[in-house]
């Protein structure tokens, strides 16, 4: 790389798509204009387990404008079922008469208008044979499957049984110990933009307009399901109205809508309901966890054991296995972990913002807080005593780890020193006051990617890649990287994303996209500079004739050298042809050369911060929160939060601040508000709407202070860029619950923490 990352990044830049978004000009998938669409409406199951025994479609077909009704009887064998989020089997929809979970798609009604489709969907009569359904942990009929820890693509080192025995021995011998169980609830991302799909056929070619975190994945998976060549499928999603993991995997709806459009010979558009968003896509499954920590009297951990149980559907063994993450946080000499999947009559869960870390770090960071009281030690000091610069599992060095500087800066700004360590000792008027803290961390992932960049003599550049604008600011970070690499103003760069006709980029998940996209863009820009420089030194009329091309840089819209000589792009670019266009691919260190071909086939290999051979790469952070609990009625409020993060070079502090803040607020939600309620008898979702599935409103997040701790990490990747999309939420639930303990003396080990648990 010829670029100094410091020169590229760090300047606060407003979103280049901000105006389009606030004026409505930004086209989300269902805003794309298609000619003469028909409209689809979904019929979903009202039981959680059983079989369909028959349909009576007569009333539905009698609704004026109804064109087609797809059921397993009519089309069941015409597509291949999609794979689950872990690449394994998952629940089906119209493929058979089997009902796996509440709200499963069982018919698709297509009509001339949205209204007729919805009316007719309500008139499809389905006869079913229901079987007793198991809702969740503890219900009769659930099946527990023990699994060795490890999330997809990662393997736990060592022998579980040996480690467990060693942990047990260390635990038994330790002077201070903690043995506790925690629970987290199911949660849904169900973002504001609904799970829409519009399919348009043009001869053999299919275009799918659907909000997606993985354009090339949507393209290839849809083709596979339909049994057609992926080259014939184009997926478009220029803007995504929130995804958080819910739009990363193939869901069942897409292929059925494509089939409906094929049968009709007319575009078909599906805009499902908000309630359907709770059952036709994925969610964060509930967990149960067991944590055992032991320590010396001065707080040094002597052992750690963390076991989790996670709910999944009957056919899928999807799991997040967050012990992979929690086992790397502190310097415990003996670490043992285990994970179990509990199969119930539920939909298959999937990735949701910091999938592994949100539930599992809640348990670990709550346990660390409990241990600090058992030791009579400040909880920040306990983390300091157990801080380490080496991954405690693999022994590899962390590429960088500024956990304690994050704590120190957050604590200073927060006023942690004013905390009276005694629980239930601080009060303000009628309100009990508590201070709590927790660590935050997230692995740094990076994947292969490709990009096409063109530069015109006018000094305007175009960047095209199938990356994803989920609301994170991806258009802007790509524009910043290209502009600063090419010596242009940000406004001179036009960015095209969200279209599988553009060069592939992996799924926007695991906070990889910032690192993934910047590296390939920088590489393409280096190529452009190189070609301009070589053309210039070869040209007799250039001021740089016969100079060393390596001495030329792009800055201020011109090719320049250190002596102050310059040549504008209007002269430099035409020398390479009419306009300069490059295509570049980047495969990060540690991935095989085949990674690019695999990406083109819809398989994104990822270099994961937790399983590299050279270093372990994580970003770190610290939260300090204040809670107030009413002395009589026990409502819990969070008047202020200070969080500090050290996550390498910050590309755009403006959008980074929003990412961190959004994560922190979602963490408040995770601690106090969110839970999908499952009816214990029928295993159905009860609160499938945004009135009853509560999330924070503005008044619940009055003061969020974000500190970005400067960090140079030249081992994580060449540009020192770490993803920040997920770290903000990690640990917040524990920090709040820890503060609630400090305020009240009551330890709540099951989320969400609500008034009734404190009475």
């Amino acid at each position: 790389m010829t670029f100094n990352p410091k020169s590229l990044f760090g300047r606060p830049t407003p979103r280049i798509d901000g105006v389009a978004k606030v004026t409505g000009a930004a086209r989300y998938a269902s805003d794309e204009l298609v000619a003469n669409p028909a409209f689809a409406s979904l019929v979903t199951s009202e039981i959680a387990r059983g079989h369909i025994t028959g349909f009576d479609l007569s009333r539905a077909k009698a609704v004026p404008g109804v064109l087609d009704i797809l059921t397993y009887e009519t089309v069941g064998n015409q597509i291949k079922a999609p794979l689950g989020p872990d690449g394994g089997p998952t629940t089906t929809t119209l493929e058979s008469n089997r009902i796996w979970h509440d709200g499963q798609i069982i018919a698709v009604v297509v009509a001339d208008t949205f209204e007729s489709a919805a009316e007719a969907a309500g008139k499809v009569h389905v006869s079913t044979m229901a079987e007793a359904a198991s809702a969740s942990f503890g219900a009769p009929g659930v099946e527990v499957q023990a699994i060795t820890a490890g999330r997809p693509g990662e393997k736990t080192k060592g022998n579980q049984t040996e480690e467990k025995a060693a942990a047990d021995a260390a635990f038994a011998a330790a002077p201070v110990k903690l043995d506790v169980r925690y629970a987290t609830p199911p949660q849904h991302h169900n973002p504001i933009e609904l799970f829409t799909t519009t399919c348009v056929w043009d001869g053999p070619n299919l275009t799918v307009y659907e909000p997606s975190q993985f354009m090339w994945g949507l393209k290839t998976a849809t083709a596979k399901q339909l049994g057609i060549d992926p080259a014939n499928v184009r997926a478009v999603s220029r803007y995504v109205g929130g995804a958080f993991g819910s739009k990363g995997n193939q869901t069942s709806r897409t292929a059925w809508i494509a089939l409906a459009a094929k049968r009709l010979g007319r575009p078909v558009k599906l805009v499902p309901t908000r309630a359907q968003g709770f059952t036709i896509a994925t969610y964060r499954a509930e967990t149960r966890q067991h944590v055992r920590l032991s320590a010396t009297a001065d707080g040094k951990l002597t052992s750690m054991f963390h076991e989790g149980w996670e709910v999944s559907s009957r056919p899928s063994s999807y799991k997040v296995a967050g012990v992979e993450a929690t086992s790397r946080l502190y310097a415990a000499p003996v670490i043992a972990t285990a994970v179990n999947v509990v199969h119930a009559d539920r939909a298959t869960p999937g990735f949701m913002r910091a999938p592994a870390e949100v539930p599992y770090v809640f348990a670990l960071e709550s346990a660390m807080d409990e241990l600090s009281y058992a030791l009579n030690m400040d909880p920040i000091e306990l983390r300091r005593v157990n801080d380490t610069q080496n991954d405690p599992v693999s022994g590899l060095p962390f590429s960088s780890r500024l956990l304690m500087p994050c704590f120190d800066q957050a604590a200073e700004k927060f006023g942690w020193s004013k905390r009276n360590p005694k629980p239930a000792s601080m009060r303000r008027g009628e309100w009990l006051v508590g201070y709590g803290c927790a660590s935050s961390f997230y692995p740094n992932n990076i994947g292969p990617a490709a990009v096409r960049i063109s530069l015109a003599p006018s000094g305007k550049a175009n960047v095209s890649m199938a990356a994803h604008e989920l609301g994170t600011g991806a258009y802007t970070t790509v524009a910043i990287t290209a502009a600063h690499s090419l010596g242009l103003a940000v406004k001179d760069v036009t960015v095209h994303l969200g279209d599988s006709d553009l060069p592939p980029v992996p799924v926007a998940g695991g906070s990889n996209n910032a690192a993934t996209t910047t590296h390939v863009v920088v590489k393409a820009c280096a190529d452009i500079r190189q070609r301009l420089a070589e053309a210039a030194v070869a040209a007799e009329d250039s001021p740089f004739h016969s100079a060393d091309p390596a001495t030329l840089i792009l800055a201020g819209g011109a090719l320049r050298n250190a002596d102050g000589l310059s040549e504008p792009l209007s002269k430099a670019v035409p020398r390479t042809g009419g306009r300069l266009e490059v295509y570049a691919e980047n495969i990060p260190a540690g991935l095989p050369a085949s990674a690019m071909a695999q990406l083109y086939n819809g398989h994104p290999l990822m270099s994961r911060g937790g399983n590299r051979k050279d270093v372990t790469a994580y970003a770190f952070g610290a939260h300090c929160v204040e809670v107030r609990v009413h002395s009589l009625t026990r409502e819990i409020r969070v008047p202020r939060v200070v969080s500090a993060f050290a996550a390498g070079n910050v590309i755009n502090p403006t959008t980074a601040h929003s990412q961190y803040m959004g994560g922190v607020i979602w963490g408040i939600s995770s601690a106090l508000h969110e839970a999908t309620e499952i009816d214990p008898v029928s295993a159905r979702v009860i609160n499938a709407n945004l009135a009853d599935y509560i999330v924070p409103v503005n008044a619940d997040a009055p003061s969020i202070d974000i500190i970005m701790v400067p960090e140079n990490d030249d081992r994580v990747n060449p540009l020192g860029v770490k993803g920040i999309g997920e770290i903000g939420i990690v640990g917040m639930n524990a920090a709040i619950s820890n503060a609630v303990f400090h305020a009240t003396g009551k330890r709540i080990r099951e989320l969400p923490v609500r008034a009734e648990k404190l009475l």
Partner: protein, 342 residues
């Protein structure tokens, strides 16, 4: 989503005429009056209310939305918007519990749309009621059973329930109306009548599909809240899962008149835990003539929940309810005495 017809009532007589099939507040009545629409449209979109015809009361608004304070009390037109009433200086000064109960309800957008008449007729938030794919709901589908009894009932009632229905009345304003002993005025096919607000809502009594004592075609035209010293020294306390835009898990209104250190007159009502807007007369009796100490307040809180029964997830209300009453009592005590003479 179903077709329905829509008519605009040009005057009250026509509203009564068009609305004569409104039934007794049943969800399946074929004709529904339309005020702000924030309950009605919501439940129509959920397929819970499926009227054939809506009768829009909008054109009556100029006549039926006045806010008129007098020496005797406060007259409020039934079509007055929640937001306007909450912001009215006389309401805030002389009937603070009313203003607070409106201000703490729903969201700014909803308060700008919703009317007082529609507000008192809002329906329970029971999830099994609000989703017609649940077969067992006596309120929606008489005789079908009650899924909430064995289901998730965290925000169901602990007072005034029977085995036919344990739903909770969710509103705030009606709770304040109970403590301030309001009257409600109705006009129907048989003429006009005025009744104590306390007798508007019914208990389930094995027939939870009948929620109020409104007769077919009756339109709520106005509310009247008598002026009093205790109205001036009134509070509404709302406990909820988030800071704003959320229904109560418990609430209490208190109207207090002191005589030196002793309670001369007190009214206590409860929300977020009862089948209907709930007056806690037993708790009032505990305090009348006594000093308002913390111990007496706790005794009143316990009396307010006398006879309450939980159903599992909502057992916490048996503890939270009394605490909410204590909090409201202590807040009322901390207020300055009323400025009016009688």
């Amino acid at each position: 989503m179903r077709p329905f017809s829509y008519a605009r009532a040009t005057d009250l007589a026509q509203a009564v005429h068009l609305g004569r099939q409104t039934g007794q507040g049943q969800t399946d009545a074929p004709v529904q009056l339309l005020a702000g629409g924030t309950t009605l449209y919501d439940l129509m979109k959920l397929d819970v209310m499926v009227p054939d015809r809506l009768v829009d009361l909008g054109p009556l608004r100029p006549k039926l939305s006045s806010i008129t304070p007098s020496a005797e009390g406060l007259h409020l037109g039934a079509l007055a918007k929640m937001a306007h009433v909450a912001a009215h200086p006389v309401v805030q000064a002389d009937y603070p519990a009313l203003a607070q109960s409106l201000q703490l309800a729903a969201s700014a957008q909803l308060r700008n749309m919703a009317t007082l008449g529609g507000n008192v007729l809002q329906r329970t938030r029971c999830s099994y009621f609000r989703d017609p794919t649940w077969a067992a709901c006596n309120k929606r589908n008489p005789g079908s059973g009650c899924a909430a009894l064995t289901g998730f009932n965290r925000n169901h009632a602990v007072l005034g329930t029977d085995s036919s229905c344990i739903a909770q009345y969710p509103g705030d304003w009606a709770v304040a109306l109970m403590a301030l002993e309001a009257d409600v005025s109705l006009t129907g096919p048989l003429g006009s009548r005025r009744l104590p607000f306390a007798s508007l809502h019914r208990l389930a009594g094995g027939q939870p599909q009948f929620e109020t004592n409104l007769q077919p075609g009756e339109v709520i035209t106005a509310f009247f809240i008598p002026a009093s010293k205790r109205a001036q020294r009134s509070v509404y306390v709302k406990v909820r899962d988030r800071t704003s835009y959320e229904f109560a898990i418990a609430s209490a209104a208190v109207a207090l008149e002191m005589d030196g250190d002793l309670v001369r007159q007190i009214r206590i009502s409860l929300g977020g835990m009862a089948y209907r807007p709930w007056r806690a007369e037993g708790a009032e009796a505990v305090l009348t003539g006594k000093p308002l100490t913390e111990a007496n307040a706790e005794a009143a809180g316990r009396a307010a929940l006398a006879g309450a029964a939980g159903h599992g997830h909502n057992d916490y209300k048996l503890t939270l309810g009394p605490q909410t009453v204590v909090r409201a009592l202590m807040q009322a005590k901390a207020l300055p005495p009323a400025s009016r003479k009688a």
